[in-house]
C-alpha cells in the first residue's frame, strides 16, 4: 500500500467522521439520517478493513469474515432503529 494512498484514505475517514458528527449536530434524526449515518459507518469500516488492515489482497474467506461482521452488525442496528422509528 503506497504512502500516498494511505494518506488519501486517512483524509476520507476524517471527512466521513466530521459528516457523521455534523448530522448529529443538526438534531434532525429520522430514517434518512439513520441510513446515512450507517452507510457512512459501512464505508469507513470498509476502508479500514481493506486498506489499513490490508485485507484487500487476502483470500476472500478472511476478508469476508471481517466484512460480514461489519455489515451484519450495521444491518441489525438498522433493523432495531427502523423498528424504533415505526
Amino acid at each position: 500500500m503506497s504512502a500516498h494512498f494511505l494518506n488519501v484514505i486517512w483524509v476520507a475517514l476524517m471527512v466521513a467522521t466530521a459528516l457523521t458528527w455534523f448530522i448529529g449536530k443538526t438534531g434532525q434524526m429520522g430514517a434518512t439520517a439513520v441510513i446515512a449515518i450507517l452507510l457512512i459507518a459501512a464505508l469507513k469500516g470498509w476502508m479500514i478493513i481493506y486498506d489499513f488492515m490490508a485485507l484487500r489482497r487476502v483470500k476472500f474467506l478472511w476478508r469476508g469474515i471481517v466484512l460480514g461482521w461489519l455489515l451484519l452488525t450495521l444491518a441489525i442496528i438498522l433493523l432495531a432503529y427502523w423498528l424504533g422509528l415505526k
Partner: protein
Amino acid sequence: MTSHTANFPHATGHKLHQYPPGDLAIWVFILAELFAFFVLFVVYAFTRLKHLALFNEMQRTLDSDAGMLNTLLLITGSWCVARAVAAIKANHAVTSARWLLAAIGTGCGFLTVKYFEYGAKFALGINLDTNLFYTFYIALTMFHAMHVVLGMTILGLVWKKAVRGGYSAQDHHGMETGASYWHMVDLVWIILFPLVYIMR
C-alpha cells in the same frame, strides 16, 4: 523468494494472499473480540428499542464533540500504524518506529479525552447505576478503552523492538501482528461512535 516470504505469502507480489497480515493467533483473538462487540452492540440496539424515550433523552447529555475528537484520534492512530508498516516494508526502520510512536501518542490522546469526558459525568454524580443508558454508555466505552490500553501496550512492545532495529523489509511479521490488533480497536469504534453518541 526467501524462506520468510514462503511462510508468509502476504509479503509477496499481487496475488491474493492465503492469510491476513500478522500472526494467525492474533486473528483468532481479533475475531473473538469482534464477536464480543457484536453481541454488545446488538444488545444495546434492542435494549434501546424498549426504552426509546430514555435513550434518546440521555444521549443528548453526551459530549458528541469528545466522541468525534476520539474518532479522529483513533483513525489517525490507525493511519500512523499503516504508515509504520508501509515504512518498514520499504526498509525505513527509523521512520517506521516514529510512526509507531505517533500512533501510541494518539492512543494517549484518546485516553486523555476519555478521562475528561468521564470526569465531567462523574462530577455530576453519574455512574453505572444512574439509568440503563448510562450503564451501557459506561460499560461499552470502558470495555473499548481497555482495548485501547491493550493495543497501546502491544504497540509499545512493537515500538521497543523497532527502535532496536528488530524489523526489516524481510521480517516485519511481529509489527503486522500488533498493527492488525490496533486496526480492530479502531474498527470497533467506527460503529460505537455513531451508535452511542449520534443516532437517535
